[in-house]
Symmetry: D2
Subunit: 338 residues, 4 copies
Amino acid sequence: MIIIMHPEATPFEIDNVVAEVETKGWQTHLSHDSGQTIIGLQGAGQPLDPFYLGQMPGVEDTMAITQKFKLTSRAFRPEDTTFHIGQVTIGTDQLAVIAGPCSVESRAQLLETAHAVKEAGATFLRGGAYKPRSSPYSFQGLGEAGLELLAEAREATGLPVVTEVMSPTRVALVAVYADVLQIGARNMQNFDLLNAVGQAQKPVLLKRGMSATIEDLLMAAEYILSHGNNQVMLCERGIRTFDNKYTRNTFDVNAIPLMKELTHLPIVADPSHAIGVRRHVQAITLAGVAAGADGLIIETHPNPDQAVSDGDQSLTLPQFSELMQQVRAMAQAVGRTV
Amino acid sequence: MIIIMHPEATPFEIDNVVAEVETKGWQTHLSHDSGQTIIGLQGAGQPLDPFYLGQMPGVEDTMAITQKFKLTSRAFRPEDTTFHIGQVTIGTDQLAVIAGPCSVESRAQLLETAHAVKEAGATFLRGGAYKPRSSPYSFQGLGEAGLELLAEAREATGLPVVTEVMSPTRVALVAVYADVLQIGARNMQNFDLLNAVGQAQKPVLLKRGMSATIEDLLMAAEYILSHGNNQVMLCERGIRTFDNKYTRNTFDVNAIPLMKELTHLPIVADPSHAIGVRRHVQAITLAGVAAGADGLIIETHPNPDQAVSDGDQSLTLPQFSELMQQVRAMAQAVGRTV
Amino acid sequence: MIIIMHPEATPFEIDNVVAEVETKGWQTHLSHDSGQTIIGLQGAGQPLDPFYLGQMPGVEDTMAITQKFKLTSRAFRPEDTTFHIGQVTIGTDQLAVIAGPCSVESRAQLLETAHAVKEAGATFLRGGAYKPRSSPYSFQGLGEAGLELLAEAREATGLPVVTEVMSPTRVALVAVYADVLQIGARNMQNFDLLNAVGQAQKPVLLKRGMSATIEDLLMAAEYILSHGNNQVMLCERGIRTFDNKYTRNTFDVNAIPLMKELTHLPIVADPSHAIGVRRHVQAITLAGVAAGADGLIIETHPNPDQAVSDGDQSLTLPQFSELMQQVRAMAQAVGRTV
Amino acid sequence: MIIIMHPEATPFEIDNVVAEVETKGWQTHLSHDSGQTIIGLQGAGQPLDPFYLGQMPGVEDTMAITQKFKLTSRAFRPEDTTFHIGQVTIGTDQLAVIAGPCSVESRAQLLETAHAVKEAGATFLRGGAYKPRSSPYSFQGLGEAGLELLAEAREATGLPVVTEVMSPTRVALVAVYADVLQIGARNMQNFDLLNAVGQAQKPVLLKRGMSATIEDLLMAAEYILSHGNNQVMLCERGIRTFDNKYTRNTFDVNAIPLMKELTHLPIVADPSHAIGVRRHVQAITLAGVAAGADGLIIETHPNPDQAVSDGDQSLTLPQFSELMQQVRAMAQAVGRTV
């Protein structure tokens, strides 16, 4: 059960409700949503009377939510969550299109890409300054210098910037430069990091772990939302299965309609990682839109064969431009815009 | 390597080529494609001179195919395979739409469904007379009585019939009634059955096993093609992964563009089994078309909640009709027709 | 629920009980166990009174079994199932050890292997005469000639013979030569084949499909047991997972204690397929015994590098002999014998 | 390729070698092993002459290592790595046995457990003070108070302490109290954390991620070793597969002999998480030892049904004591001690 307090509930009223349910043997967890305090109940106390609780001073409503995820669930918030980033509103009929290189490599590479994807119709610029690499010997990103280039590219194009943060110690720094903090698949259950971006009150793009269940992903989002930060996009980027001879991952397209049902948060598809093969990114992009994704994140590079990371799955700039034409036709077929 | 003989090559010429390569330590496997004999080479013999072989009487061409699948590969046949079933041509821009109940239950159920799906735009009728069930205690299908009902429904609607055959001993019987022989996921590597439908020279719908790799599926098709039967549709119907809390399987949408590249055979998507939840079948159907499927197979039932099998994933007849509207819009967006 | 009839129940009494429960809206499925008729109930009829049913003439007992598998379950038969094959009793503290080549290749190969594994302490000879191969171009087995060689090897060594049958049409033929009919992983849900070996009343070695759940495997066994054939060994042979770079499959050692709890049938471990790498077969063999397996099946070949199939995972004859020394020490550590 | 410098190589000599290979277009990465500098080469420069490099001042040896993991590989260090923690030496014939509760809950709980596992023969105490929980509403651990209790229990029993660290910011704090820093499965690719424990120069227990390949795990260890910290134990704790109806994970017992071949680091088995069911922990423990594990980590609790986390898989104290008897017999069967 969760208890939703009035926006104008006093600290005294909140404490009073907490005391009431703790007396009955429950543990409580406070979070905040749109200026309202939410009292979540855990454990196994005595039965509670929702009617009695609903009459206590300061209580707006009580809800029985049977799923493990609470604030993330449709049961808690039936309508789609939308939020503004720069000129863009996420979670509406208009698709968010995030494009750019895997890694920020140089000023020239980033600015050329930023201008090209902007012209083709992208609404966000992506690029990695801190890169999670399976080998300690691989390029680890330009770090703060990369963040500065991203900020310059935003200045030049007006595109808000999405970039990954890998460590709680660097959330504050990355938040200075980025419009959206990306949590990578390998960090989906790095709970200290989730808490840090939750507290940062910045929009977050949370990628699904490569073998995370849908429930795992929604619970990871719950960490962020429990700090009162609802500006979270969930990203399906392919899962690990038994067959990876010809593709990097398996795009779990089922997850899109399923998550649209279970949660009010916007869903972004990442066809680049999901299939990992440049010439097949187009088909998976269109499938993602057809299945109901609210946004796309697509790796794009001026010269993919020279990319320091993920070149195999990056589109060239002309390929991205061509793909956007097809995305527009597809969006129209499912009643959306780009 | 494979050696392709002229259509008019004589048995003597074929024997001669076989003898030549066997002398060099190779084993041979003969198959037939469009009236031409194909000599496949296995094992590890001495190097062969393609130029010399190409000059032998009766030889049309030689091809080095590095993949394990030969006749199934794009390398062997670059253009899409198409074939006619009744009025329909499979493998063209026109989507094949196969609809009907999981199991044939009764005359009334089947005829009502057949008329409704025909009216909504389906081009094939499906229905199971022999059902592979995980429990010996579950309904096992009406058997030959079910086949007779399917034939009656074809008579009434003009829709060609797709139905499963589970055993080599029943291929001849099922082939009397069916237009397309379906091989179910659990029998994908039932090699005696694959040989039997290969020899039957009827169109085949071959479903991917629930944990079969793409290569396993193409090798299973190779069994059928090696008997000179090229009328094979491959069906992606969802794979088994670590996450099945909310869905029955994981639709491997990546497999669609990948198989379109690797093989010339038409690809059919089965959204019903792939997600297993009625209200999400629509999204997965559209994703399948967007990704490039050549056909769809969709479970439809007059009263899904009373179905003896797979009711949870079956559409009602009005839902199927509504879905067909959306399929038409989607087909148009990707340059196809229904 | 299942209803167990007295051994001396008359057909009239059986019919009477069937009629009683069918009147209440249930479907019935009859099977036989040790000379007693078992009436299984399916569907969703009205509530039944076990006390009333237990009083009906000819009824010995009624059992509520909540699992899908009935005759296979420990609930149905709490004590371990044992059965005799030649001089060996399966399902006791003595480990069954099945050894021999993947494929029967020649008289010399088979007899040399048979004598060597017998001397090393094996209690069964294995060898494939009909081979399920993913490619139609690979060696498909010697067929009946292979069966004859197996019979000759049994004659020479006294070892009972385990060999695979792939098709219901050949069950009768294989049963003439074999002591144990093996169902391969790819045919685990070939239900017509399961029915055929159920009716054959011969011992069966049923291998788990490469992505079959434990429940799938127990349900497949249920098909065999529902024909009154309880002489079934279940075989864990490795499952398909996301990691196959260095090994062929993942040995699901958890399945051994789990199946010992869920079913009364003996469990055999197949370390050869489970890891697929010769030099690691020893570790997995020992792990299987440590976890509680009742038997082992191990591929052995006089010259693995020349084997026509599965050479990479076959032990040489001296390696097998050495392994048996370690198996004896391990068996002793867990209170068993070889 | 890697270049191993003499222990007494001067900074000037090292710089000289680095300059030489960078001139040829390679990137370099320096790490340290037992007081020697290791120069790793990345990228795709011009061919290098190992003979010429080997003659350069300060160079001891050069090695071509084709695997992605270098310092972690057997190719780099053929003999088993051993290291001392308190009185115990890890990586020898003597099994390390780590036991204790999932979470540190109270002084009484921890001390009772510590004394009992010590008496039963455990050589380390485990207990979580910082807990990674999938829900933000679950118990998150006692934090530093938990660390203090662990230190007290060490004082009382002499058992070295293994405890998890979840964030780079807390490595210094945890290192004050712990003898071994545990990295949990969810953080296996938290690269900032790996770098931090690498720099801490304390022994590390690195758990395999739930869908990490063996190669992923060895690459994660490489991060730690690249800081000159070789005191790393790798832990197999079960992977995520398609079948989790009856067990929590699938114990990948294949990984044990495989990792013993690929790396010189000691391997620990975690049967508690690997199967997740108390009554089956024994079988999996024995299988782990039989397969060659160098150590065990087993959850133990005075009253598992009241545990705040992982109670289902925790042994009672008498069960742990009984298990240790069996572990001794098993260790003897494979030529080891406890």
